[in-house]
């Protein structure tokens, strides 16, 4: 049986308004198989975050985009703001890179997570509190942290709060934009394990954005490699890491320091890369 796809992106183009030539994302198409983790890998400026943001139409008003985004047979690109709001945070949830700035400092973390429940369900505040406390324990935060303010939590705990907030309405698709880049390695490992476990438990689809192939190897089923606004290689994560085909993927794999071998780091030589890509 062929795997079912939950999201289909067709010919996505993003450019600043009135600068049609300046393509930030150039003809990107991909499928997200259901209940799998897909990673988008690329450097800063490769368009990986823009691609993810455009799925839920969160792009800056200075950018315009064209293309088709089909989620569960719904054409997201044709929906208006009100229709999109009912999907954002319920069927599709997001986690952002910086847990320090994505929580509001003047509200308690519990209030902010409960807000996400109340936005999509008709419940009393007490019911919402119960659901939130349950969500906190699910991500490994003691329920009595409900009344704490964001500055009273560590970076890892704040990222867990963000995950609780994203997971609370049991989304079908979770978009995680470099959720562990700002964290220490041990905390990164915990957060990656948490996302992985939640994904398995809820059979959720995850689109995970990162620049670190080490992270890809740990969690991804499928991987998309982006360079200068284009997908240059895609396929099963294991086979791409073992046997990269595109020169950019090869170059990216060579610049990760390794603890297992004494390999020499090779920073990407962009001129050479462009020459090799021209030959393809």
């Amino acid at each position: 049986m062929p795997t079912e796809n939950i999201l289909k992106v067709n010919h996505l183009m993003i450019n600043p308004i009135k600068q049609v030539e300046n393509k930030l994302v150039n003809d990107v198409s991909f499928l997200l198989p259901k209940a799998k983790i897909t990673c988008i890998v690329g450097e800063s400026g490769s368009g990986k975050s823009l691609t993810a943001l455009s799925i839920v139409k969160l792009l800056s008003s200075q950018l315009e985009f064209s293309g088709e985004i089909i989620f569960n047979r719904q054409k997201l690109h044709e929906l208006n703001d009100k229709q999109l709001r009912s999907i954002r945070g319920s069927e599709i949830a997001m986690i952002f890179q910086d847990p320090m700035t994505s929580l509001n400092p003047v509200f308690t973390v519990g209030y902010q997570v409960a807000e996400a429940v109340l936005a999509h369900h008709k419940l009393t505040k007490n019911e919402a509190r119960k659901i939130t406390e349950k969500a906190f324990t699910d991500v490994g935060i003691p329920a009595d942290r409900y009344d704490n303010y964001p500055d009273e939590l560590s970076g890892g705990q704040r990222q867990r709060v963000m995950i609780a907030m994203a997971m609370i309405n049991k989304p079908k698709l979770l978009i995680a934009d470099e959720p562990t880049t700002a964290l220490d390695v041990t905390v990164q490992k915990q957060v990656l394990d948490l996302i992985h476990n939640l994904q398995k438990k809820h059979q959720m689809t995850v689109l995970f954005i990162t620049h670190d192939f080490g992270v890809v190897e740990d969690i991804a089923d499928q991987v998309l490699v982006m360079y200068k606004g284009k997908i240059v290689e895609q396929g099963r994560a294991k086979s791409i890491i073992k046997n990269p085909k595109h020169p950019y993927t090869k170059a990216l794999l060579k610049c990760i320091p390794s603890i297992h071998s004494k390999k020499i780091l090779q920073p990407i030589d962009y001129l050479k890369l462009e020459r090799e890509m021209a030959k393809l």
Partner: protein
């Protein structure tokens, strides 16, 4: 021994409770000792809150420890008289984590790199100019960049500028406080390569603070691991990776993503 740190301790007091009446002490550094030879790189590894940045600040004499001693090429660092601190800072320079906030946005790159020379009154204006041109090329930028401003550069280029600024007065030791953790992997590789090449060329000694063990393995000869201000592991990098003595070091090694 070139650099010798003995029994360094530092506590911070923290006030909490109603009207800040409760005081508790936090051991940021608890009896930390290590030695380092000239031309080597020592990695200081730990998570946030482990005391690694406190150690860097004490090395730079930005902070005084409660007890302990530091000797750098036989000079007693902690008892340097006030008027000689400036001379000490000529020997030790720092590269910071965030290349976006450690460059003055109102200065041109030329002014930024020349500033240490001016502060330490090293050379005439023409000599300074020649020196700046030499060091900007050393870090892989061109002298055309000298008249540009920090916002015109990418993160990796800014970190190169920070490196040029640290190197220009030819210090003996460079304290690198997470110099690559704010950068993308490919840029990280460029900066690590650059730091390694410069170390070879100029016989530099590095104190390299990081939480990423992949970086440690790549750049350092020796390492210490700090946990809550205590030194829990010490030794040659290869030895520690092969045979970690404490459970905490093993946890750190296990946390490295991937196996590439």
């Amino acid at each position: 021994m070139y650099l010798s740190v003995k029994n360094l301790s530092k506590t911070y007091s923290k006030r909490s409770g109603f009207l800040n009446t409760k005081t508790s002490t936090i051991h940021a550094l608890n009896n930390v000792s290590f030695d380092l030879d000239k031309g080597k790189c020592l990695a200081i590894v730990g998570e946030s809150g482990s005391g690694k940045s406190t150690l860097a600040k004490i090395m730079m004499k930005l902070l005084d420890p409660d007890s302990g001693s530091i000797h750098l090429s036989k000079q007693d660092v902690l008892n340097i008289p006030k008027q000689k601190i400036k001379a000490y800072r000529k020997k030790i320079q720092m590269i910071f984590q965030d290349p976006f906030s450690s460059l003055n946005p109102k200065f041109t790159i030329g002014q930024i790199i020349a500033e240490p020379l001016e502060i330490h009154k090293m050379g005439t204006p023409t000599q300074i100019k020649a020196n700046v041109a030499k060091f900007i090329k050393l870090v892989g930028l061109s002298d055309k960049d000298l008249s540009r401003y920090p916002h015109q550069f990418s993160g990796g280029q800014r970190q190169r500028i920070c490196i040029a600024r640290a190197l220009i007065i030819e210090p003996d030791i460079i304290v690198c406080d997470e110099p690559v953790s704010a950068l993308d992997v490919s840029i990280q590789a460029q900066i690590l390569e650059l730091l390694k090449a410069l170390q070879k060329k100029l016989n530099l000694t590095y104190l390299f603070i990081t939480h990423d063990l992949r970086v440690v393995k790549y750049i350092a000869n020796e390492m210490i691991v700090l946990q809550n201000g205590k030194l829990v592991e010490q030794g040659a990098v290869n030895q520690v990776f092969k045979n970690p003595k404490t459970k905490y070091t093993q946890t750190l090694i296990n946390s490295i993503p991937g196996s590439i």
